[in-house]
């Protein structure tokens, strides 16, 4: 086959292909995802402020929403992944009960990132701590290192994963702050689903954002603040 013939073949194929591409969307319902081509910036620091006074014991809306959004099974066996969980605590001395949601705290100095041998556990420029499943070897050292038990290990083969949320057997995973939503200008599923307005999400570095103003005016703490991890998630009412 001579080069000229190959070029003609290629041209025909390309033009027919281009025509098909042009016509096809009208024939079939395909939805192409849209994202931003701008990189995540360190000018932004995503965080959450959780008002525990508004959190109701027995309510699991945030957990249900997270499970649905990320394709988790929702199971609570010791080997099941839980990216967010409701915790009930009670002051040992006074007996005062508090209910609150707990997820990856997205620390500024994450111990999980320090210990990961392959840099699979990393902190994105905008503060979100993620697991790069392409590099994770499943050693679980980050799970040993996390003071908040934020990470889960995938103990069995998975199928039918959510197309936005890749997850696989033998790797470690945790709350991604719904990075796939944030990158499209949205907010985490838990924050959106909470009917009691417990979870406030936003940019901690933007002084005009609701979260920054609230953190500036009301008292809030970081869990295990003594560890100086500078978490992105803060709690009110503890």
């Amino acid at each position: 086959m001579s080069d000229m013939n190959m070029d003609r073949r290629n041209f025909l194929k390309t033009s027919v292909g281009a025509a098909a591409v042009a016509i096809a969307p009208g024939m079939l319902l395909f939805q192409v995802a849209h994202g931003s081509t701008a990189a995540a910036s360190s000018k932004v620091r995503w965080g959450m402020l959780i008002d525990t006074a508004l959190c109701k014991p027995g309510c699991n809306d945030c957990v249900t929403a997270c499970n649905k959004e990320n394709g988790l099974s929702g199971g609570t066996a010791a080997t099941d992944s839980q990216w967010i969980r409701k915790i009930e605590i009670k002051d040992i001395n006074s007996g005062r009960p508090v209910s609150l949601p707990m997820m990856c705290q997205h620390c500024e100095n994450p111990p999980c990132v320090d210990v990961c041998p392959t840099n699979a556990s990393f902190k994105r420029a905008d503060g979100i701590v993620l697991v790069d499943k392409h590099r994770c070897i499943g050693c679980r050292y980050c799970m040993m290192a996390c003071p908040y038990k934020a990470r889960s290990f995938v103990h069995e083969p998975l199928s039918d994963q959510h197309p936005d949320v890749p997850r696989g057997k033998g790797t470690v995973e945790s709350c991604t702050l719904c990075v796939h939503r944030i990158d499209q200008g949205g907010k985490p599923a838990c924050a959106e689903a909470c009917t009691n307005h417990v979870i406030l999400f936003g940019d901690l570095n933007d002084p005009s954002s609701e979260i920054a103003q609230k953190v500036h005016s009301v008292s809030s703490t970081q869990l295990r603040a003594d560890l100086k991890l500078n978490t992105g998630v803060r709690y009110q009412g503890l």
Binding site: A77, A78, Q82, I87, Y141, M143, Y148, K149, E156, R224
Partner: protein, 391 residues
């Protein structure tokens, strides 16, 4: 005198031992295949207990591997003549046990097919990443060291290479201790005492393994242990057992003193079910006090007692590692000090660990790898300690 550690007259024994070792290794490989295929769900590990029985085996093998080099170092670096003829055997045991430990660790990974990724993406703050050059470096250096020992023309290099090996192995055991020392999250770990503790424990465990192998070699060659040499070596083992008991005591004592650590210590030492039993019965009584009695009591201290003491020390080491690794993970994280905690994810609750048969099989596979390398090594080369006659 035969120039092989395992004389030709013992050929059938060699093949039997090799077959046994191969069987154990294939059992380990089968376990790994099942874990890789079905996922870690078939093991007893979960999201609270992330490291299980395989890590107990692996850490024993790795710590003992670096510890056995101490025997070589006492001869080559510190000039004690009695230990010099024992250096080659120590070097070979070190390589064998390190290989066994790595076998278990690498095959327990969630994605063991990604070892290349681990080797090519290096996080300088991670002890696991440091371990890659540390372990491969030790293999290379010990091989080099054995060359200086066994090749007469290289004997002049024994001391400098021996010194490098000794330093490297101290770094390696420090790394093993730092794996846990760097973990601020769990109450069992995060202590600067752990690296020195692991180093001291390695002395004892390595020596115990050495004694067992040496005793077997003497038996196969119908030789007798020289009583003076035996005395010196067994006393050294006793000192190492005492020293590690001391450091373990300090570790628990300081923990008990801190109010925030007291509940954890009560769990390990008193309330935790299997953990206090293994700690007091397994490590303290059987693994430390009984061997000390066997070693130091005036009417005891013969070769049979020393072999028994060595076996007990190894048993005690497994018990201690089980308490340290599993007990440390069973106790819940302290996320809300001053509060009672409960959740769907096991917060605030003790997690009970039950090892699966697959994990034990994998661990045994590691022992099998070390065993096979040792058997082949003593068949192929001369590791019998050729002591100079007493004057």
């Amino acid at each position: 005198m035969s120039s092989y550690t395992l004389p030709k007259s013992r050929s059938p024994l060699y093949y039997i031992l090799l077959a046994l070792g191969a069987l154990v290794v294939s059992i380990g490989l089968y376990a790994m295949q099942q874990m890789e295929h079905h996922g870690h769900i078939i093991t007893g590990m979960n999201n609270q207990i992330v490291w299980g029985m395989p890590h107990v085996f692996a850490i024993f093998l790795i710590v003992a591997a670096s510890g056995v080099l101490n025997i070589a170092a006492i001869g080559s670096v510190f000039g004690q003549t009695v230990y010099k003829p024992r250096a080659p055997l120590a070097g070979m045991l070190s390589i064998a046990m390190l290989a066994g430990g790595l076998f278990v660790l690498m095959l327990d990974l969630g994605r063991p097919d990604r070892i290349i990724v681990a080797a090519t993406n290096f996080n300088p703050t991670s002890v696991f990443a440091w371990n890659l050059p540390l372990y491969s470096g030790l293999f290379t250096l010990v091989a080099l060291y054995m060359w200086t020992l066994l090749e007469k023309r290289m004997n002049c290099w024994i001391k400098p290479v021996g010194l490098v090996v000794f330093t490297w192995r101290i770094l390696l055991t420090t790394g093993t201790g730092l794996i846990f020392a760097f973990l601020v999250a769990r109450q069992a770990y995060g202590s600067a005492l752990l690296p020195p503790m692991f180093i001291v424990m390695s002395f004892g465990w390595g020596m115990a393994v050495f004694f067992l192998v040496q005793a077997a070699i003497y038996k196969w060659n119908d030789m007798d242990e020289d009583s003076v040499i035996l005395n010196r070596m067994k006393n050294l083992l006793g000192i190492f057992v005492l020293a590690s008991l001391f450091l373990v005591a300090i570790y628990h004592l300081t923990n008990l003193y801190f109010a925030k650590q007291t509940e954890f210590e009560h769990f390990i030492l008193r309330d935790g079910g299997i953990y206090p039993v293994l700690f007091w019965g397994g490590y303290v009584m059987l693994g430390s006090l009984l061997p000390l009695l066997l070693i130091f009591h005036s009417s005891l201290g013969k070769i049979k007692c020393v072999v028994a003491a060595s076996m007990l020390v190894i048993l005690g080491s497994f018990a201690l590692l089980y308490v340290f690794i599993l007990g440390g993970q069973s106790f819940p994280l302290s996320i809300f000090p001053g509060f009672e905690v409960s959740s769907s994810f096991g917060d605030g609750a003790i997690t009970h660990y039950h090892s699966s048969v697959w994990e034990v099989m994998l661990g045994m596979g590691g022992l099998g790898v070390a065993f096979i390398i040792t058997v082949i090594g003593i068949r192929v080369l001369d590791f019998v300690p050729h002591d100079l006659p007493n004057k």
